[in-house]
Structures are given as structure tokens and as C-alpha cells.
Symmetry: C2
Subunit: 194 residues, 2 copies
DNA sequence: CGGCGCATGTAACTTGTTACATGATTCC
DNA sequence: GGAATCATGTAACAAGTTACATGCGCCG
């Protein structure tokens, strides 16, 4: 039974399947290219690299000629490639999505409209930042077209991000307007008492 | 320093702020009304209820007249209400979103198009189910209008779901088409050989 | 009276974050 | 030589899931 629940291992295998990388580089790539749908911490990556090496799914080598930083790089092994392929085939587990901002909004009322406005604006800002990150990646991708054999698949993933962001942006706009409305006329909190 | 990281406590406080509920009922509500943006397991809820009671933020009482199942119900205390309000005010933490389906798609290639098709179709199906759940809730909400004072806020949250769901649906449709295309013409994997 | 669904709870485990320790290199 | 950044790693903790144990009431 080779398939484990832990997803970190598969992100690592997936990235190493394209190029040789160090732990630090893996983290950097996740934080840029994958950031809009995935995240990992160093505390997950380094121990996992160790484990994968022990299991023989990846192999470490030291940059031989490196005049600068001698970082420990990893390659995927044939066994690792096989496990990656097997993981790709098994069904996706239930998505666990948690939007704290929605939770707060859900439990808020007219009295907290000002605060919610802040939260939504923050949400908007963050997703704009993320959007810029991903547009950068998209440009990169268009330049060195087909470096990876999964060029089209990556574009599909980017399309997801684009669509979802558009709905975020449109929702933020609408919601900010509604909240400003409530803030301006707090007494009109339902159908117009008074 | 009253504010803790643990979000389960705030979901519980938020729900109890509207009505008296048992642990089981809390779980059921999260699984229906909040399911599209939140989830909790019994293993989180029951111990948390205990802790909140110890801290005096909620109080337990047994249904007195209950001829049927005597479930332990909880009420929020004034102290609990205060902590809830305080939590509402503090900024939202970075959203941690993990779409396993995108990860798989990202690491896949032309050879695994058939499998990815399965995954995306599954994703589509799940979100259709979720949509039905929330449409049910929306109807309910429209019937007993303004039972809660946060009627408008709940509608904003639902609007989020609706928008995001629409982008999911549209993305699934497009992506399924693309993948079927690749599946049908695997040799045409980039700009059209042959 | 046996099984099923409701209901509460706990323990073991896995997963994930945070804070810290360490050292090398680069830039001022 | 001191600060910043690159880079690797670990230990302690927090969060979350799963599987299990238990008991009650209802239905056939």
C-alpha cells in the first residue's frame, strides 16, 4: 500500500519530476507558482525530503562545481515517478475549504459593518496581490513555452485561478457597497423601521 | 489575552449566539448551512464544548421536558458573547486554501488526461451537490425572514458561494472539453504535429 | 430482541505551524 | 565586522481526523 495521505510528499515528487531542486527552492516555488491553491511550510518540507530519500523515491546530490552556495539538490527516482503516477490516479479527497472571512461575516450584524468592511477590503487586497503573482508566472510560462510537457495542464490550473479571482473581485465590490450602505443607514437594518 | 487561534470555538460561539444547540446539532448545521466554506469534526466539537463550558463562555442545560432523546443543549453566556465580538474584530488570518484537484492537474500530462477527466467530473459533481444544499438553505432563509438579526450578512455569504460556484461550473465545463480534446488527439499534444 | 440511527464522548494518530538553532555568503 | 539573506534542520506545540466505545430509543 504505497499511497499515503500526506500531500506534501506528492507536491515534492511533482516538482522534482520537472527539475532538480533543493528544499529551499521547493518552498519558493510553492510560494509563488502554486500559492493560489497550495501552501507548505519548511517544517513539512525538510522532514518529508528526508523520508522520501530513505524510501528511495528521491535521491540527494550535492552541486559538484558550485562556486557559490552548495545547496543540497534532489532528483526523483524511477520509483518516485511511479508513486507520483499512482497518486495522480486515485480520486481526490474531499476539499476542505475554510474561509474565515465568511465565517466572520456570517456571524456579524449591522453593528459590526465597519469592521466587516475592513475585513473584506483586506481580503480584496490579498487576492489582488496573489493575482499579480500569478500574472507574473503566466508571463514566464508564455515566454519559455513548453519547457514542461504539462504546459496545457498548467494553463488549465491558471484558468481556474482567473475565474475564481474574478468572482472574488466582483463579490468584494458588491459586498463593500452593501456594507457601506448598512454603515451609512444603520437604522434601516431590515425593511425600514422608523 | 483572550483570543485563541482555534477557530472551532468561534464557530460554536457564533452558532450558539443565535440559538440553543447540542453538539450534534452544531455539527449538523455546519455540515449543511456552512458546508461550502467551513467544516468541523465531532472530535473537535465535543472537546471544545467542554472547554468553553469550563471557561464559562457557554453553559449546558438538559432539555427538561424532553420525552424523547435527552440531548445536552448549550447556551452562550455574556462572557461568551463578548469573546465572540472580540474575535469578529480582529483581522482574518491568511486563508489556507488547498485544492488537491488542481495539484493533480498541475502535475499531470497528456497521458493522464482520462484520469484527470474523472477527477474534474467528480469535482463538478461534488459542487453541484453542495450547491443544492445551499439553495435549500437559501429557500429556508427566505421563508423565515429575519429570524436572525444578521439576515443580510448571511445573504452576502450566500452570494459568495453563488459566484464562486458559477466560476467552478464554468471552469469545469471548459476544462472537461479541453481534456476530452487532448484525450481524443493525444498526438496533438502541443501546437499540432502531423 | 437485534439492528439501526441518534447522540456523546475519548484516545491515538496524523498533519501542520512556529519558533528556534545553526552556519554560510554577500553586501555595506 | 555586522546585518541581511540564503539555506537546512529540529523540537515543541497546536490543530484536526479517524476509529472506536458507549448508551438510548425506535422499528420491525
Amino acid at each position: 500500500m504505497p499511497i499515503k495521505k500526506n500531500k506534501t510528499r506528492y507536491v515534492i515528487l511533482g516538482l522534482l519530476n520537472e527539475e532538480h531542486l533543493s528544499g529551499y527552492e521547493i518552498k519558493r516555488i510553492i510560494d509563488t507558482r502554486l500559492s493560489f491553491f497550495w501552501s507548505e511550510s519548511f517544517g513539512q518540507i525538510y522532514p518529508q525530503l528526508k523520508e522520501l530519500e530513505t524510501e528511495g523515491l528521491i535521491a540527494a546530490f550535492h552541486q559538484p562545481d558550485s562556486n557559490s552556495k552548495a545547496s543540497k539538490k534532489y532528483t526523483i527516482t524511477d520509483q518516485g515517478k511511479e508513486e507520483l503516477q499512482q497518486w495522480l490516479m486515485i480520486p481526490v479527497e474531499k476539499e476542505i475549504i475554510r474561509y474565515e472571512v465568511l465565517l466572520k461575516l456570517y456571524f456579524s450584524n449591522a453593528a459590526s459593518s465597519d469592521i466587516m468592511l475592513e475585513h473584506i477590503k483586506e481580503f480584496e487586497l490579498n487576492h489582488n496581490k496573489q493575482r499579480k503573482l500569478f500574472e507574473k508566472f503566466e508571463e514566464q510560462l508564455k515566454q519559455d513555452i513548453d519547457v514542461h510537457g504539462n504546459h496545457r495542464q498548467v494553463l488549465m490550473v491558471l484558468a481556474f485561478g482567473q475565474k475564481v479571482w474574478e468572482s472574488y473581485a466582483s463579490w468584494c465590490k458588491e459586498t463593500i457597497k452593501s456594507l457601506e450602505d448598512i454603515s451609512a443607514n444603520p437604522e434601516n437594518s431590515d425593511k425600514g423601521a422608523d
